[in-house]
């Protein structure tokens, strides 16, 4: 009746469809047949006297309980199929799917953007859904996945493609004039082909900041520390890692130290403990509560490469 599933999630969805549709068919056929039989069997020309019974508690209970059980089984099938859709494997390949009027774009990181979705077969893929304007909804019928792309919401979906081929991606949340044209393709390829494709994909988008740089920007460190060797309120960051500096400690003694991971951590958490000679005291506050150790490690990684 409909196209074969091409992802790991299709089985759960199709099972639920099968259960509901088969139950529906049985009930619709049985009830309709019974109605027609009743109308024919008890037609006025054959049955002049109508029976006058008005109800049966036993029957009411039967046809309350049995439908309740049946619909709960339907609910259970629906839930089981759905549960898989929210359990994203740890090793899923993360791709950002961007919806904007009226096109899809897939961000593979490092500025690599593609208008079609290319994914390796048998690899869990998680799509992080980002809207740049209105509501959209990303729908891949063959994979049985759909989730709305809502501005301001971190929606996601995931799937593991199980068959090679090309599949439609459609927008299913009305988004204006060319809503019907917000259509692209998902291409499922072998792992090697995927890698080649990704390597050859030209980086046209913004290359994101190094995580360490992102921390520096987020905490406004660069207001006082230049990345280009300029002396501002504090010393510049470039080329400082791994070199020796003369510092003044809290009691005013000068000594030479090596700028390493420990020194950087100390400078963030206790900035006035060891100040590079030539810079003012008490100008920087401790970032104890604001920058985690993990973030400091990222800053260190960044400074190592900043020549």
């Amino acid at each position: 009746m409909f196209n074969n599933g091409a992802s790991n999630l299709a089985e759960g969805v199709d099972k639920a469809f099968a259960f509901i549709f088969i139950t529906a068919l049985i009930f619709i056929v049985a009830i309709t047949a019974f109605m027609i039989w009743t109308v024919v069997r008890y037609r006025r020309s054959k049955n002049k006297e109508a029976a006058q019974f008005t109800g049966s508690v036993k029957l009411e209970i039967i046809w309350t309980v049995i439908p309740t059980i049946i619909v709960l089984i339907m609910f259970w099938y629906g839930w089981m199929g759905f549960r898989e859709m929210r359990r994203v494997p740890e090793d899923a390949l993360e791709i950002t799917a961007i919806g904007r009027i009226w096109e899809w774009e897939f961000d593979y990181g490092n500025g690599k953007l593609s208008k079609t979705l290319v994914v390796p077969i048998n690899q869990p893929v998680k799509l992080n859904l980002v809207s740049e304007d209105y509501n959209h909804s990303l729908f891949i019928p063959a994979f049985r996945v759909k989730e709305d792309v809502v501005p301001g919401y971190d929606n996601f979906l995931w799937f593991e493609p199980t068959f090679l081929g090309e599949y439609d991606i459609l927008c299913t949340e009305y988004c204006g004039l060319l809503h019907y044209d917000m259509v692209t393709l998902a291409r499922v390829v072998e792992q090697e082909e995927y890698e080649t494709w990704l390597t050859d994909l030209e980086a046209t988008g913004n290359i994101p900041d190094h995580p360490g740089l992102a921390v520096l920007k987020k905490n406004a460190c660069l207001a006082c520390h230049s990345l280009e060797g300029v002396k501002l309120v504090g010393p510049a960051f470039d080329g400082v890692f791994g070199t020796e500096r003369i510092i003044v400690d809290e009691s005013g003694n000068e000594k030479t130290i090596l700028v390493d991971a420990d020194y950087i951590k100390k400078s963030v958490y206790e900035p006035n403990a060891e100040i590079v000679k030539g810079y003012g005291k008490n100008l920087m506050q401790s970032y104890d509560k604001l920058v985690s150790e993990e973030e400091i490690a990222q800053i260190v990684e960044y400074l190592k490469d900043l020549k």
Binding site: A16, T32, F53, V71, W79, P141, Y153, T172, H179, Y180
Partner: protein, 539 residues
Amino acid sequence: MGKQDTYSHISYLEHKGRFKGIMSWLTSTDHKKIGLMYLYAIVVFFFVAAVLGVLMRIEKMNPGPDIMDAQTYNGIFTLHGVIMIFIVVIPGIAAVFGNFFLPIMIGAKDVAFPKLNLFSWYVYIIGAILGVLSQFAGDGPPDTGWTFYVPYAANSSTNVIFALTAAFVLGFSSILTGLNFIVTIHRLRAPGMTFFKMPLFPWSLYATAWIQILATPIVGITLLMVIAERVLHIGFFDPALGGDPLLFQHLFWIYSHPAVYVMILPAMGVVTEIFPTFSQKPVFGYGAIAISSLAIAVVGYFVWGHHMFTTGISYWSRWFFSFLTFIVAVPSAIKVFNWISTMYGGSIQMRPPLLYAISFIFLFLIGGFTGLTLGALATNVHVHDTSFVVAHFHYIIFGGMGFAFFAAMHYWFPKIYGRMYSDKMAYIAWGILFVGFNVLYFPLFILGLQGMPRRYFDYLPEYHNGHLISSIGAFITFTGLILMIGNLIYHRRRGVVAPSNPYQGVTLEWQIESPPTHENFETIPVIQNPPYLFKKTEK
């Protein structure tokens, strides 16, 4: 055939008020005339929206643009939805047949507040006119869909504000009618008619009226908030202004899901009247049907989230909304079994109202089971916002509420106009309509399963066959509708004069003249028996 030319009494149709001609209608506080004024407005709007539907189907017969461009198409499906939902289906049975028959069926001379009733009709007409004006005034027909989802509705350059205001105004008409019915049922039942001696059509109107009063204000304020967002740039829903787009969807569906029950409960009430009359047998499980109406009205409040399964609401919200959706299906199933058992063992006379009522059950079953498909989480993900949903709610609203409306039109036609329609013509029209309906909407289920999204001006080539069949069905359906309504309009003045009780019904409307007099009852009846007592000798 010994045809009588006219009836002998002076009915509400000839009643002389202060004015003559059309003014005697426009100023009448008679619940029967107000009911008919709703009927005429609704039939006119229904045909306007049906023509829009046919235009959409013509456009989609073949891939690519045929008779319109994408913007026109988006405007047309918006107008089709706004008219059908807010102007035709929500007032629908309650405003027409509720107004006409609720007071009669409970033994009253009118509703509790007749002037408020007329005022509600004017509010309704003002709302409807605003809806029509939205097409011509300002910056072009609105293109948001009847759901007005923000952020799109906050940013569309079309005339959205008019359409929002129209829906807002129409909401007040609905609230006031609901209020009127609740007070009428509480205060004006004939002596001896306890709640559980009341016929089941009034019961269904009672459940409906509570939903109208309690849920409609929510959508009213929500639509105002969208207007405030557009005009004053207050960020309620648009993330660009700091709002939350899902908040809109929650508020919208908190009303609009219960609104589905505003549409379907009176329809259920209508067929509950028809089955006993044509079977000459009491309703099976009176109490179960009455209570299940209330159960649907109550539980129906807590299932709105099933319109939002794919929006990113939390895992457990999806779980609970899905669970409750399945629970609310049970009272509907109970009703179906009771209707069939009402016919079982009866002395069944096949007439057009019964045929419409039986096809109501068939279509409602298909609509109901496909509703369960949408209520289950896994399957919802696949068919949500596809043409499967379009097919589902047309089976419920058109196949359910629509066919019940047609059943009611045929059932009460002799009472309203004092004339009979042609049964033969009614059967032919039914046959064409029933076949056309299924040819029109069933392929949309298949298309939806194949992945065809809704609200698409154009489609990928693999969906062509289904669309072509569906479009052919649209023409058949429309032909059936014209024949059906033509049969009724033609016989309104020319039909054989109807006796006061052509189908041997036992509810109060069949105990008075056809058409009723201005006052309905000379003396208010005193009620001693349960409502569906066909044989006084048996208990």
